[in-house]
Symmetry: C2
Subunit: 293 residues, 2 copies
Amino acid sequence: MSFQAQYARYAALVNNALASLPWGDDLMSRAMTYSLFGGGKRIRPVLALAAAELTGGDPEALALPAGGLELIHTYSLIHDDLPCMDDDDTRRGRPANHIVFGEAAAVLAGDALLTLGLELVARPLPGVPPARSLAAVALVAGAAGWCGMVCGQMLDAAGETGGEAGERLAWLERMQSMKTSALLVASAELGAVLAGAGEAELVSLRAYAAALGAAFQIKDDILDVEGDSSVLGKPAGSDARSAKLTYPSLLGLERAGTVLRQKTEEAVNALAAWGEEAAFLRDLAVSAAGREK
Amino acid sequence: MSFQAQYARYAALVNNALASLPWGDDLMSRAMTYSLFGGGKRIRPVLALAAAELTGGDPEALALPAGGLELIHTYSLIHDDLPCMDDDDTRRGRPANHIVFGEAAAVLAGDALLTLGLELVARPLPGVPPARSLAAVALVAGAAGWCGMVCGQMLDAAGETGGEAGERLAWLERMQSMKTSALLVASAELGAVLAGAGEAELVSLRAYAAALGAAFQIKDDILDVEGDSSVLGKPAGSDARSAKLTYPSLLGLERAGTVLRQKTEEAVNALAAWGEEAAFLRDLAVSAAGREK
């Protein structure tokens, strides 16, 4: 199966699982589904299902807890776009959640997506010991919470502290590893833990996903400089306009590109023990580095 | 042991468990702990521990998941006070979270409290089968989320729809049962489920907590009319100023008092099967109806 077909297969499992939830046509459901079904790439659940399949799990059985990761990612975007946070009016080529539904509904829709996301991770699964699901909740909540993604957003909102280039790079890496990589690492872990993977496999997958997360963020920063607004679905150049610290602004485009290649290589190398079995995850890292949006 | 001593014992178990979490002195920890240790009555975790003890569980072993309920309650208050929601500057006699830390930090502190709250509910416990903890996550997340507390807040934020007195009362009951009672019911259930209670016990505790929640909310509304601002820790009369639909505004103070007594009686009656063993929960309902703040 080609990489594209495999990606589409995992994404379809997730999308079907998410569509099967009992959405209504009340304001709450509409505000939640507007962003959840608003064109996300599903990379976190896809990563979870690929990690599960690589370590002997059944992706079809794990689509719902994997989908929980997408709800958590979606909540973080809605809250991130709020006027009191990044104040972004546009997300994925459409008006941001709070532009359509108002700020109060956007805050609450984010709250509800986070809550439901963790509930889905905790769903009992046939053939999966409950202790594994509890472990999955712990690692996803840990990655999403005050020592992970939310902390990264807090650092981002507070802004960098200045200092020498080395200190600024360290701050940027720390902020990004919490804001972006933590949930990607937890996604790979979730799939592997629910599949019953061993510790050595978990160590490799963590290293892979951490490097993938760094590569993903650097590529995002580069696209904001080089990309085409109509392809991106958001205005390019917004980082420069808000004078945000990014890899290109700190290192220049050329060195940022070098770090992107290094991180991609690191991700691929972490998969060495699996050989061709890990072709999908290898191609995922390579395609993330080459994407145009 | 007197009711007060028993309440203090449960609350101390919860407060010790919450104090044992690895708080730092970073902005995130400070924003979270400011509201978490800001004078809450701990009624949800106390209810959980009392329900656990009544159904054969050990309150000392369950203090951490019970504490998770307080984090979830605290997050809901922080988000509720935001300018885009109720826009309250004061909470429990102190400046609201967003007044002290800013709106962005308040949104994120709420997000982090919710995430950590559910993580605590999912903590594996010695002597408790993991499947029970998974069930606890499901019921707490269900009560807190889009079909429970968050939905109640969405209804509240959207405002009532008008109509005849009967329709308005139905709207008020529905909104309050989701906004306030759902998490109280889940609190009683959490304690009982983790203790391994049987279905008949769960049915009684649900009826008790639902009536307690209604009584609690009616008393809150009455105190907003009759109470003393300095005792309440917030300005009395705020419901009237914001023309909010409440039990006293709809029924008048006298009939609201009658409904309060009926709901309290309902709560007490739901405990009948336990007799004197349930004295603490009975006294909790009676004291909630008689409180001055």
